[in-house]
């Protein structure tokens, strides 16, 4: 393997959002001209037992028999899931090929998604993933159980998909002057992904000083070229004001820095990123 492959990675699990995830991944891969990889993980849950026999006795070679029994059970189940995963990957592959990707890579791994992603992180340019997986498929007010730990473990951009695909034309960059926001700004300025798009640079704050910062930021973005910048300062509760603004202006993707604060502060006050993930109705590109 080469040192870095600069992959656009799409996490596939067969939930309702899988199709949209494929479409967005294909869109990014085409815009930044990077290879696309479709990943399916088979998560085993060895901490949970399906097999119970409470007769409480042990006889001749009980251990060997138990071992055989458990192995057989798990083999059958794993085979089935391998097969399902292959079909999912095949469907996803066809979908992105139709979208114009020439040769998408497919990959199937055992273990939890977080683990696999950490292993693949070096080869990663951007991860595309659905806001919730199979478990919470029918609960539109919930975000996936593993989403936060995935976002926290990776240090690469992550596009969280929560609706059907619509090629983004107007994006909104949430800016608050923090380090994470500055970094996000730099990334937007330099990446080929955002060329030709309209970027609403939005800052939600009571603080007058932030207005100046916003102007500086807007100029910086303008200088990078290829992006039409509209700067706007708003007042109110960030997650609500931002979604209101997003609806007014017909914005179709939010870009923001993620988890800028420590875990403890987030735990006490609630994380802004989590709030955005829960409230937003358009895809969220989190820059780390």
């Amino acid at each position: 393997m080469s040192a870095t492959q600069n992959l656009v990675l799409a996490g596939i699990d067969g939930s309702a959002l899988t199709g949209a995830v494929c479409d967005y991944a294909a869109w990014i891969a085409q815009k930044v001209d990077a290879p696309l990889k479709l990943l399916h993980t088979i998560d085993h849950h060895p901490e949970h037992a399906d097999h119970t026999d409470i007769t409480g006795n042990i006889g001749v070679d009980s251990r060997d028999h138990l071992m055989d029994e458990l192995t057989q059970l798990e083999q059958q189940r794993s085979k089935l899931r391998l097969q399902q995963g292959k079909q999912l990957l095949q469907a996803a592959r066809e979908r992105v090929m139709q979208a114009g990707i020439l040769d998408p890579i497919t990959n199937q791994r055992h273990g939890s998604l977080v683990e696999s992603l950490i292993e693949l992180e070096n080869d990663l340019r951007v991860l595309v993933i659905g806001v919730r997986g199979k478990v919470h498929e029918n609960q539109p007010d919930k975000i996936g159980a593993k989403l936060e730990s995935i976002i926290r473990s990776l240090h690469k951009p992550i596009l969280v998909v929560n609706a059907e695909f619509k090629a983004p034309e107007r994006i909104m960059l949430a800016y608050d002057g923090s380090q994470a926001a500055e970094k996000a700004l730099d990334m937007v300025a330099t990446s080929p992904l955002y060329k030709g798009l309209v970027c609403h640079l939005v800052c939600v704050s009571q603080d007058e000083g932030k207005g100046q910062l916003l102007e500086v930021a807007a100029n910086k973005l303008q200088l990078a070229g290829g992006i039409e910048v509209i700067a706007k300062k708003l007042v109110g509760k960030p997650e609500l004001v931002l979604s209101e603004y997003q609806e007014q202006k017909g914005i179709d993707m939010t870009v923001m820095g993620a988890f800028g604060h420590g875990r403890i502060r987030d735990w006490l006050l609630g994380s802004f990123t989590v709030k955005m993930l829960t409230h937003s109705r358009i895809p969220l590109l989190l820059l780390r």
Binding site: E47, A49, D53, I54, G56, I58, S62
Partner: protein, 497 residues
């Protein structure tokens, strides 16, 4: 680190863990009583120990789902200590055992388990099974026919009850065996020994107490010879059981944390008036079989055990010993690796000798540590012997007949050093000898001095000797220890001739 655990280790399998914990608690009660009797202490000592060890390892152990409690392997090691010095010294020895195990955990001795080969493990479990069975024999000698009848009946219930429709799979058969035999004995007013005859049962929750022994060097001298093998056997059985649970559940465990956890649990047991314990192979298998996977199963086993024991002490004392013997025979049958007997035919002789030697030494000394020591030693010797077969020396004379090239292939060490020397022909008259070591590896001082001997001997026959193709490790050891290029040292040897 010791108290951290993942959420799914506790809550990933709540229903299965609580159910399995209950089944295990029921199975632990007769075992704890039986092992107390083996050690020669009141049943309450084993029961308190089982409660404390199970609960503590649930939190601090390194292998979720493994059951630790008072065990037969440990009980057998404390018999003479209890007989000669009494319970208080046993409690002190238990504390010291815990301390030693924690030290072993910090020294990462858990990794030494890699020296214990599969055949030694098989020998260990077989010996353990035999010892548990033998420990039941006193209950079966000089007794009336009622006892035999009840034991056989009990075994029949244990193994046949699960085949009954509907109820068979919903109630643990050892429990049915105990209840049925107790009812029969009470109803028929049989005059046979019961658990109540064997000593005091717990009637309260355990209380914290410091062992009443003088804190002197004298005390240490008494307990250390017991604590040391207790610590070793405890860790050995725990590591083996952890590996078994790892295999069954296809998950990994933290062996060094398990060492420390066992140590802490034993310190706790010593302070609550319990005997030393360790992980239990049979109970852990029962736990996994009953659907236990997480730490909750171990905690439930300990807590339910104490609740049942404290509230049912009147009933417990009525259990006939025959019922206990039946349960323990089941444990012994379940622990023994019957497949290993069939495997004797297919496995290589050296493997069989290691396994059988381990069993024989344990049954002879009643000390599992001795058996494992002998087994590991034998296995290492057999290995050294096998590796030395893979050392050979090829040689070739060049066309003009003046230079002989020896090509050494394989591992040269103490066991193959003589063979190495004997592969050279010192009687052959040649001008030059080349020794090609490209595919050889020199491991120790013995091999280097063998090389010295060959080089010097060849030189004394008048040949020029050249060594070529040494690999890095060989070069290092030869540079440090070889003398054939050091004139002073050669003088010392040659001067004698």
């Amino acid at each position: 680190m010791l108290f951290l655990s993942k959420k799914h280790d506790w809550l990933g399998n709540i229903r299965g863990d609580v159910l399995a914990g209950t089944v295990v608690a029921l199975a632990l009660i007769p075992e704890a009583i039986a092992f107390s009797i083996i050690a020669g202490v009141d049943p309450k000592v084993g029961l308190y120990a089982s409660f404390c060890i199970a609960v503590m390892t649930a939190f601090v152990g390194g292998r979720p789902g493994m059951i630790s409690a008072a065990t037969g392997a440990m009980a057998l090691l404390m018999v003479t200590l209890v007989k000669d010095h009494g319970l208080q010294y046993l409690l002190a020895a238990t504390l010291l055992t815990g301390v030693l195990q924690i030290i072993a955990g910090y020294l990462k001795l858990g990794s030494l388990m890699s020296f214990v080969s599969r055949s030694v493990v098989t020998g260990f479990v077989n010996a353990l099974a035999i010892l548990i069975f033998m420990a039941q024999l006193p209950e079966l000698t000089n007794v009336t026919w009622h006892v035999y009848a009840m034991t056989v009946g009990g075994l029949a219930i244990i193994y046949l009850f699960p085949y009954l429709p509907v109820v068979g799979k919903t109630l643990p058969s050892p429990l049915i065996c105990i209840i049925a035999l107790t009812v029969i004995a009470v109803y028929l007013k049989l005059d046979i020994r019961t658990v109540g005859d064997m000593g005091q049962l717990p009637d309260t929750l355990p209380v914290f107490l410091w062992p009443e022994v003088p804190l002197t060097l004298e005390t240490l001298k008494i307990i250390l010879p017991y604590s040391l093998p207790l610590a070793v056997v405890g860790l050995l059985e725990s590591m083996m059981t952890a590996t078994i649970v790892d295999d069954l559940t296809d998950t990994a465990s933290d062996k060094n944390r398990e060492c420390k956890g066992q140590g802490l649990a034993n310190i706790g047991a010593g302070l609550l008036g319990g005997m030393a314990g360790c992980a239990m192979i049979g109970q852990s298998i029962i736990n996994i079989k009953s659907g236990g996977r997480g730490r909750l199963s171990t905690l439930c086993a300990g807590v339910f055990l104490l609740i049942m024991v404290v509230f049912l002490d009147k009933w417990l004392s009525m259990i006939p010993m025959a019922a206990l013997v039946a349960v323990m025979i089941m444990v012994s049958i379940g622990t023994f690796s019957w497949r290993s007997i069939l495997n004797l035919k297919q496995h290589p002789m050296s493997t069989n000798i290691v396994m059988i030697a381990t069993v024989v030494v344990v049954v002879w000394t009643h000390n599992l540590a001795m058996g494992v020591f002998v087994g590991v030693l034998l296995a290492s010797l057999f290995f050294a012997n096998k590796i030395s077969h893979f050392m050979y020396v090829d040689s070739k004379l060049n066309e003009d007949g003046n230079t002989r090239t020896y090509k050494v292939v394989g591992q040269v060490f103490f066991n193959s050093a003589d063979k190495f020397v004997n592969s050279f022909d010192f009687k052959e008259a040649v001008d030059k000898v080349v020794i090609d070591l490209k595919r050889a590896h020199f491991w120790d001082i013995s091999s280097v001095s063998a090389l010295d001997k060959v080089v010097i001997k060849l030189r004394r026959e008048g040949a020029d000797v050249e060594l070529i193709g040494m690999n890095e490790a060989t070069t290092t050891i030869i540079d440090r220890f070889a003398i054939h290029d050091n004139p002073e040292e050669i003088e010392k040897i040659m001067g004698g001739h």
